[in-house]
């Protein structure tokens, strides 16, 4: 029995497209010559990415002294950027896996680019813990038992920092696998449309001789569901473990049990913010309005208002518990956060993350791409500041007032953050030219939604009845 969708539902794809139109619309953007706009973006972001590489090289040559960290504030922009990028990397798998398990068919138009975004964000994220060690090469030695006077000395599996190594590398690997598995049938389509031998070879190797056999689809669909099932707990585990980096310490402001759900909610929030930013640009420049419709944007807006409210609730809960616990250190940490020297960052965070998404309660604004775009930028800024607030304001005034200090990021730190955006966008520009940016194989499978069905017509059945 095929899936039969209610004719009362709004169609997911607009413009009365045929199956071939879908293939053509998506594939034509990676065939032919790239536009000037694309070259501009590619070289522009490429230059910024080169600056990122140069800054990392300078850091490794000169040492972490080129950053503004001090004895009290040992984590600044580096770990803020790490947590920020990992958070960005959560929307892709959430859209691919969690929405798949919940049978949210609208995911098919956006999952491919969201997954790509996930991969690139995790690449950016993974760099920061590595480079923040300064002497990067020693970090690799620590993974294996390294030679010393006492015999083989192993890594400490009781440390959340080591769990994080496993979580991030597993997440990167499984996201890449999930993304590639989803790409195979679409790459086969691109291969069969290719005229140039080079393209035939490139897409032929990547698509591994896929020919649409239903015997293969049978295994494929089961495997895809398994990946969704594996990736769903994985995506929750990753930011949970990132939050353990803080929560298992004894620093006031970090040592709270609310951290895992708070971080996961924030990660989904920031991830959807970035997905919106990128897709609103891609939709306009690649003319994908019929595939990424206002309904898709509205759905993402709803996820943002939900997760933004979760984050707002967490901010309130933290304050309440700081008072209710009766711990003076905890209480001080939070009062210092909102009124201390870093209060500016706290209030930027609150206005971007809690106030700005409130516009999404209104349907008219939720369906306005310009409003969504501005709001998504605010969410990106706000969520970067959330991590900055958590890390820096908790560190800069610790138990010992004599060691209290302030943190001034150096120009190099600021440019390193900018550079990581360059790398992220550069990879994304390459992706939209090389891979089909919309999972059209999956889109084709949901195109029946909102259309009267043959079978119903034949049997004269009520088209509202949905079964399958």
């Amino acid at each position: 029995m095929g899936h039969v969708y209610s004719a009362l539902r709004r169609p997911l794809v607009h413009g009365g497209k045929s199956l071939h139109d879908v293939t053509h619309d998506v594939c034509s953007s990676i065939e032919g010559k790239p536009s000037q706009l694309w070259w501009l973006g590619f070289f522009g972001s490429g230059l910024v990415a080169l600056m990122f590489v140069a800054l990392i090289a300078w850091l490794l040559y000169e040492g972490v002294g080129v950053w503004g960290l001090n004895k009290t504030v040992g984590w600044g922009f580096d770990i803020t950027n790490f947590v920020f990028w990992v958070g960005i990397g959560h929307a892709g798998t959430l859209i691919s896996a969690v929405l798949f398990l919940f049978r949210q068919k609208w995911r098919t138009s956006i999952n491919r680019s969201a997954e790509a975004m996930t991969l690139f964000a995790v690449v950016c994220a993974g760099l920061f813990p590595l480079i923040h060690m300064g002497r990067l090469w020693i970090g690799f030695l620590w993974v294996a038992p390294y030679p010393n006077l006492r015999g083989p000395l192993w890594v400490n599996f009781r440390s959340p920092l080591l769990w994080d190594v496993f979580a991030i590398s597993t997440y990167l690997t499984i996201s890449a696998v999930f993304w590639y598995i989803g790409l195979i049938p679409d790459l086969a389509t691109v291969r069969d449309r290719a005229k140039h031998w080079g393209r035939k070879l490139f897409y032929g190797v990547l698509s591994q001789g896929w020919n649409g056999s239903v015997r293969n689809w049978n295994h494929y669909e089961t495997a895809y569901m398994i990946f969704a099932g594996l990736a769903t707990p994985l995506v929750f585990s990753v930011h949970t473990i990132v939050s353990f980096d803080f929560a298992t310490s004894v620093i006031p402001g970090w040592h709270t049990t609310i951290f895992p759900p708070y971080f996961v909610g924030g990660a989904i929030f920031s991830g959807f913010g970035m997905v919106l930013t990128l897709l609103l640009i891609a939709r306009k420049t690649m003319r994908l309005e019929n595939y990424i419709t206002l309904d898709h944007l509205e759905n993402m807006g709803k996820v943002i208002i939900l997760t933004g409210s979760l984050v707002g609730l967490a901010y309130g809960t933290e304050f309440f518990i700081a008072w209710y616990s009766g711990s003076m250190y905890e209480g001080f940490a939070f009062i210092n956060r909102a009124t201390g020297p870093f209060a500016w960052s706290y209030w930027i965070m609150v206005s971007c993350n809690v106030l700005s998404p409130q516009v999404l309660w209104f349907k008219k604004l939720r369906r306005n791409p310009m409003v969504l775009f501005v709001m998504s930028i605010f969410v990106n800024i706000g969520m970067w500041f959330e991590r900055f607030v958590i890390i820096v304001t908790s560190l800069h005034r610790d138990y010992l007032p004599s060691s209290w200090s302030y943190y001034h990021p150096t120009l190099i730190e600021v440019l390193t953050l900018v550079g990581s955006f360059g790398l992220f966008f550069w990879l994304f520009f390459i992706f939209v030219r090389v891979m089909p940016a919309i999972a059209f194989g999956e889109v084709k499978g949901v195109m029946d939604m909102g259309k009267p069905h043959d079978e119903h017509k034949a049997h004269g059945a009520n088209p509202e009845v949905s079964h399958g």
């Binding site: 293939t23 959340p160 689809w217």
Partner: protein, 186 residues
């Protein structure tokens, strides 16, 4: 070898519902499917062909379990056996602290093996030449390929294909692999 294989009888369709119904009808008629080809996953087409549920779930389960065991035994060896270090007075075998890495290794090894298992079960690999039975089978055409063995009845099959709006019906010879490869490349 090639001459021992039966000829194939192909029906080309342009719609998933027609393909699905034609597949069901062919199965009821008792024909042997060589395969059915579809540009995207049509839910239920595999069951209509009479294919059993994929066994790939076992690959995930067994390899995931292996990953979990590797995780717990490796960490136990490192932390409790080979060189137990007293770090902050924590136990040498703190089970809850091992859970995150056990979980990650379950997912990692289970996931990678599922991917490799999928490639093996689909018999696909980089460099494999795609056998296409219609140049647009990865775009918008569906192909039902029936083996012309002793269960086959050509007039009945033509009837079924025609009843379900087949766009094209054709017979391909026993060297269909070579032919299909050429047709696909065209």
């Amino acid at each position: 070898m090639a001459d021992q294989r039966p000829d194939l009888f192909l029906g080309v369709f342009g719609d998933q519902d027609h393909t699905l119904e034609a597949t069901k009808a062919c199965r009821e008629a008792g024909f042997t499917f060589y395969d059915v080809f579809a540009p995207y996953a049509v839910h239920g087409l595999d069951r209509a062909m009479g294919l059993p549920f994929s066994k790939i779930t076992w690959v995930t389960f067994l390899c995931g379990a292996m990953g979990c065991i590797i995780g717990i035994s490796g960490m136990t060896y490192v932390s409790a056996w080979d060189w137990p270090l007293n770090i902050g007075g924590k136990e040498a075998f703190p089970f809850p602290a091992f859970v995150p890495v056990m979980f990650e290794l379950t997912v990692l090894i289970g996931g990678i093996c599922t991917m490799l298992g999928l490639f093996a079960m689909c018999r696909i690999f980089p460099g494999k030449k795609a056998r296409l039975f219609h140049p647009r089978v990865t775009d918008d055409r569906f192909v039902i390929a029936i083996e012309m063995d002793e269960d086959f009845n050509e007039s009945r099959c033509r009837e079924i294909f025609a009843a379900h709006h087949a766009e094209e019906v054709k017979q391909v010879g026993p060297d269909y692999d070579a032919m299909a490869a050429e047709g696909g490349a065209a």
